[in-house]
């Protein structure tokens, strides 16, 4: 396992800059997740670390060694592709051992490595099958197995769960978390657009937008202290309610607490609101989602914005009911540039 350091890394395709000066420090053994909306450059960044994309400027170092000019195979990384990229005409065993065999490793050694990886991933019984005879989840495991046999310093995952159905995605997410500890805390870099995957898997999350890093931190840090409006809106499900305010007042003129003085926006998580006859927020319920363990209530404010709150199961009214809510949790405050104002 190795650390990964990115220093002022940029990437341009002709005139189009897709990565605009990124600095990231990933510690040995860390599970780091790059998260962001589509087109934010997260996959490009991963591919630059892998060596599949050239680096326009800046430095990428793996284990303290600058790797900008090295071939992908010499960087000590292994990648799990979104489409798995298994060789369709080879058996699972050959798929996993192919790279090693082509590089002249003795057959017996390759077999031992493949068997060990198959044991870790519990796919021993699949070794003789071809990829088309496997389910999505099994293919996923084979792709991970192919990475494991190379014994890499860094594992790279490019949206590995996005081709799986919802149930399998949750199960595989757990498997990946277990795998990380099983592989003696191998360094892993994982790209996803799903903030739930990011929150559940990561030791460190890097939130990207438009080729910039918006914030780096532990999952709960990002959840509790988002650095700006974008991170506040991106991390957390359902998303944070963001309300534009002026002169310390809500759009309908309701005065806010003193902490919101000078704010451009305030942010309230759905679970930071509770029914309160004297509360500052009012509205009319538009939709109620009853999930069993909670009711999510969508309501329309007098200024026409749709906000979300969370009720204990079975306690929410129905669509058309008027509600009034008070703030019971943390109120996030952002200045007029969208940057967080520390409480």
């Amino acid at each position: 396992m190795s650390s990964v350091t990115l220093k002022s890394v940029t990437k341009s395709y002709g005139q189009t800059e897709v990565i605009r000066g990124v600095d990231i420090e990933i510690e040995k053994g860390e599970f780091c997740v790059f998260v962001g909306p589509s087109g934010c450059g997260k996959s490009t960044l991963l591919r630059m670390i892998a060596g599949l994309e050239d680096i326009t400027s800046g430095d990428v170092a793996i284990g303290g060694r600058r790797v900008n000019e090295l071939d992908p195979a010499q960087r000590g990384t292994a990648m799990v592709f979104q489409s798995y990229a298994l060789y369709p005409h080879m058996t699972v065993e050959r798929n996993m051992g192919f790279g090693l065999l082509m590089n002249g490793e003795p057959k017996a050694k390759v077999k031992a490595k493949v068997d060990e990886a198959a044991r870790i991933l519990q796919i021993e019984q699949l070794l003789d099958r071809k990829p088309r005879q496997l389910s999505g989840g099994q293919r996923q495991r084979v792709a991970i197995g192919r990475a494991i046999v190379r014994d890499p310093a860094v594992f790279l995952f490019d949206e590995p769960l996005s081709n799986l159905d919802a149930e399998l995605r949750v199960a595989t997410r757990l498997e990946l978390a277990k795998l990380h500890s099983q592989l003696d805390g191998a360094t892993m870099i994982y790209v996803t657009h799903d903030q739930v995957e990011a929150m559940t898997l990561a030791d460190k999350i890097v939130v990207l937008r438009g080729g910039y890093v918006e914030q780096v931190g532990a999952p709960l840090d990002l959840y509790n202290n988002p650095a700006n409006l974008f991170v506040a809106g991106f991390i957390g499900s359902p998303r944070m309610n963001l309300i534009a305010v002026k002169d310390g007042k809500l759009p309908d003129g309701t005065a806010l607490p003193a902490a919101a003085a000078g704010a451009g926006h305030i942010g309230l998580r759905p679970d930071a609101l509770a029914p309160d006859a004297g509360g500052i927020l009012s509205g009319v319920i538009t939709v109620v989602e009853r999930l069993g363990d909670a009711d999510f209530v969508y309501f329309r404010t007098p200024w026409g914005q749709e906000l979300t709150t969370r009720f204990a199961p079975g306690t929410a009214g129905g669509a058309g009911d008027a509600i009034r809510l008070g703030v019971t949790g943390k109120m996030h405050v952002f200045d007029s540039n969208g940057q967080a104002i520390p409480a």
């Binding site: 892998a50 990229a85 190379r150």
Partner: protein, 285 residues
């Protein structure tokens, strides 16, 4: 009463319609295949019977035509000449067009479309225009009077089509396969040999079948190249020599023709499944 009328089975049920179509198609196939079958039967008739009995079944079947063709008319030599030219040209064409198709389909080649355009342009030039320069080229290379030269020249016919077939097929392959190879430290040559080429099996089979047909049945090119050297003739040219100035040995010709078509039919029977896959894949792409 009206109710009963509406429930009456129509004459053309789907099953009957299928049967009718099958019968029609079978009749069409029979007409289409008749000359070929007639020729095979005729090859068992003595020359004297060929025109006296225009029906299909011979009165007195004989293999004499085959013996004569194989021994006296040198069909045995021509057969092995053709085999040599065909196998050689299939090997060369398959390897060359797969390599070119891979590069054109997947590698960033400067002027790729110009190259492909030029290649397609050559398809529109009739063979007759190029045959003299080809002959001259072979002569200059010292191959004008050899089967090697004929083999090489035979490769030229369809290599453009095959290259485009391969290029089209390789273009569709996901780039992640190559990237996975790069991550595994597998070089471009091994990637091509172990990953790309096995996946292009349907196209390889298509090329093998089409080039075999082409080389086996080619007439004009071997005729010109072997004009001065009858020992180098291929089957198609050899069969033509049954037509003498005063007499045509139709029996020998039908026997030789039957000898000539058997290998091609066998090849097609063995490979037809892949062959159709390859063509269907090319159209789909």
């Amino acid at each position: 009463m009206a109710d009963v009328m509406t429930h009456k089975d129509p004459f053309f049920t789907p099953r009957r319609r299928r049967q009718l179509v099958s019968v029609l198609l079978a009749a069409l196939s029979a007409i289409w295949v008749y000359p070929l079958v007639w020729m095979i039967f005729a090859s068992f008739k003595p020359n004297s019977e060929l025109f006296s009995n225009p029906g299909m079944i011979p009165d007195a079947p004989t293999v004499e035509n085959y013996v004569r063709a194989w021994r006296e008319a040198n069909i045995s030599t021509y057969f092995f000449n053709t085999l040599f030219v065909t196998v050689g040209s299939v090997v060369i064409t398959s390897i060359a067009s797969a390599l070119m198709g891979y590069v054109l389909g997947r590698r960033p080649v400067p002027g790729r479309f110009a190259i492909m355009g030029l290649m397609v342009f050559t398809l529109f030039i009739p063979q007759g225009y190029t045959i003299i320069p080809v002959f001259e080229l072979l002569t200059k290379l010292g191959l004008g009077q050899s089967l090697w030269g004929l083999m090489l020249a035979t490769c030229g016919h369809s290599i453009v089509v095959f290259t485009l077939l391969f290029a089209g097929y390789f273009t569709q392959m996901p780039k992640e396969l190559e990237e996975a190879c790069r991550m595994d430290g597998v070089g471009p040559v091994k990637t091509f040999v172990y990953v790309m080429l096995p996946l292009a099996k349907p196209i390889i089979v298509t090329v093998v079948v089409m080039q075999s047909l082409q080389a086996w049945n080619d007439f004009l090119l071997p005729l010109v190249i072997t004009l001065a050297n009858p020992a180098m003739r291929t089957l198609s040219v050899g069969i033509y020599s049954f037509k003498g100035e005063n007499f045509v040995d139709w029996g020998g010709m039908t026997a030789a023709s039957t000898i000539a078509i058997v290998p091609i039919i066998l090849l097609f029977l063995f490979l037809q499944r892949y062959f159709i896959d390859g063509l269907a894949g090319a159209v789909k792409g």
